[in-house]
Symmetry: C3
Subunit: 322 residues, 3 copies
């Protein structure tokens, strides 16, 4: 039975530790320049990268991970044509066709919240050997992003236990905030401070999840105080494209510029060992002056994404329990 | 001199047998998990997949076939920009440039009926070593689809001789029906029943071809009777995007829903050893309830497509006569 | 410190000689059919092909070069979505993310004149090991095109010194004319004849560059005389898409048809050892009747592009000084 990566909640603490260790190994091997050794991990295997929504960044991260490991890739960032309005094929039919081409892994990005579940169900029902990885489904889940976020924190603090994590910006529309909150729920004594304009607060389902898992959280609109208390600052962009009310979009943009932008002048507020993260792309919500501060980790975080995806690919194909 | 795959008619019965045997070998090797053995077939060779019309399904089939065999791929599903209205390059010039990059195989999909012939002519005229494969040209030909269809039938019945093949749905606009009819013409005692609304009957050129090759055929609009007589049911979707008369399109859609949709309730009409095929994508013309019936072979058929393309790639590059 | 390919002017005569020799070696190895030897050059390395403007031809040239050498490729011809108006990421941020995925080479095509410089600066500033190749930036530079043009001339005449080069057609809007003029400035006793309608004359910055480097040039609108004097005819298409004044565009089109089209009837004007070049795509400015004349070298020129790109890739990754 194949194992799939569907949602952030599915990972155990032990599983995460195994992935982190494997990601460290990937980094060390790649940095050592042993290309041939690197490629022996998954030489001759095949990935299908099926993106119904274009996301060059995520696709390049997965495909670079695969290629470094010797895995071949067939990809599209235009898969919506596969089941176009005109032709009207269901996701289920498309995935069955793909699985029949015998890729070792299907990486799926799709606009529907439950696309990854549906795809995995078809694979399991019909006994295909393909592993499915959810590379972003609707506004709900982006589990490999959550794992790479946790990995970035773990690299800075050894453990996630006991940390104060500030999540700020557009908490309503960001998929990454949701997935990371689910993962943080696995660790002990984590405290989450949500910082946003009231209009862009995090969804109540996440708050309920945190309460169920006895995770402390606070909500505020005071960036300054949050920055002072933070071990981890996880900042996000305004997802203007998801705000349909134009007046609200305009107002939120003004709010962000005035009260939710991290600038050089705020760096003195931060603890010396704090880190600043961002899922990227970054617009203006973190000033480029901040980039050179050693606490700014968002580009390292993106790179960690590739190592985490390498680790997950190796785990799935070599059937390491995670 | 390179050998090209241009049209379904070019295959001999003996050539088809060789391709089918090679496809069986591909399947067995891939299922055995010997990835390294698989990749030795075409290691280090190069395919150009040039799609002037996007067709994710067909492109993934060819590219997966290539990658499993160790063949590298450079591809576009957006080649119409190559010879855009603005830039105005001819297909001939484009193909000459491509052939000069020395791919072992060019897989071409194009909107013009004679695109593959024109491309092959340029390759031969200027002495390039590239093999051309027609992956769908205009409304006329899709020869690898015809071969995979014949292979799917051959796997179920050992031989195609003596079978009754029902072709139903939109026979006017479907390229696959045309290509398969040409191939069936190579076999003995095949009988074809065309089943469609009168407005969507198969073209007279195909009927003339069948008469020239002394293939028996009938035309009707009675799905029930056809299903009872069929060894092979080859069902197709309504190509609404090709029906420009909106009233007709609407009427045909109603007709299909009422009288040309295969549902669970029709399965009792079928012979026990009959098979149901479909080139996919499937809309509503076969109900999903039918999918679990062992006679439903359309997903296996899609998978067969990859094995057939593997066999054809190996035949061309290793210069096996087919 | 990585080495980048940013502009045509950066090459020395000695560096060009090394690239030409390496391109000859690539050609010989590929023609000998030693695929495995070919792939040992760059086996296991990785290219990112990031095209903000689609250019199937250039992308296929780079990707085929890479694949023949055993280099893997992750590519997009749709990178503008990466920093879309909606998401608003800067080129600098995008390149930093890409470089973090540790490709050996980034091939960048972008609409801004200084995009390649900006990208290279980010790579150097943050100490990434990636090499950047400019595959066309704005209307200014396309350095690998210039090198392949020079290589095509060198193959026909052994040296570029002492040649009379006619550059004709749309000299105002063509990027290739600019880049090649810069390179020709490196050689001795080269004479350039610019032939175009007055409205499409070459930019004054190029003329100043030629004067600074003491390169003789003339400007005229007389194609016949120019063809008689030419060792090299470098003809270009009318870049109608860049002429915003519709009246002018229409008039220029008429001019080209009447007075700036090379036809079979002009071939007798040419020296026996002259060569005709064109960066392609070709519209009607060279008649297809000319293609079979042995002096027509535009398709060989396109093929040379792949060999030059192979040579440049090997030089960069193996750190050969060029």
């Amino acid at each position: 039975m194949p194992q799939h990566i569907i949602r952030a909640q599915q990972f155990t603490k032990q599983g995460l530790q195994r992935i982190f260790a494997l990601a460290d190994e990937m980094r060390a091997t790649l940095e050592s320049g042993c290309r041939q050794k690197m490629r022996e991990y998954l030489s001759g295997t095949l990935m299908h990268a099926i993106f119904y929504e274009a996301s060059t960044r995520t696709r390049f991260s997965f495909e670079s991970a695969a290629q470094h490991l010797g895995m071949n890739v067939v990809s599209t960032d235009n898969a919506s044509q596969f089941s176009s309005a005109v032709k009207g094929e269901t996701l289920e039919d498309s995935i069955r066709v793909h699985a029949g081409y015998r890729p070792d892994v299907i990486v799926l990005r799709h606009g529907d919240d439950n696309a990854a579940e549906r795809a995995a169900r078809i694979i399991d029902t019909y006994g295909y050997t393909t592993h499915l990885i959810n590379a972003g489904a609707g506004r709900q889940q982006h589990p490999t992003q959550a794992v790479l976020d946790a990995y970035t924190i773990a690299r800075a603090f050894t453990t996630l236990n006991g940390l104060t994590v500030v999540m700020g910006g557009d908490l309503k529309n960001g998929r990454t905030v949701r997935s990371l909150a689910y993962l943080l729920g696995k660790f002990e004594d984590v405290k989450i401070l949500f910082v946003s304009p009231p209009e862009l607060r995090v969804g109540s389902d996440i708050l309920e999840y945190l309460e169920r898992h006895a995770i402390q959280y606070e909500q505020s609109a005071d960036m300054h105080e949050a920055l002072e208390r933070a071990d981890v600052v996880y900042w996000t962009r305004l997802q203007l494209e998801r705000i349909t009310d134009l007046d609200l979009a305009f107002r939120m943009r003004e709010e962000q510029v005035k009260r939710f932008t991290i600038k050089a002048e705020h760096l003195h507020l931060l603890k010396e060992r704090a880190i600043i993260m961002h899922p990227l792309p970054r617009m203006t919500e973190i000033s480029t002056e901040v980039d050179r501060d050693p606490r700014a980790r968002y580009f390292e975080q993106a790179q960690n994404g590739m190592y985490i995806r390498m680790a997950i690919l190796v785990s799935l194909v070599q059937r390491i329990e995670i």
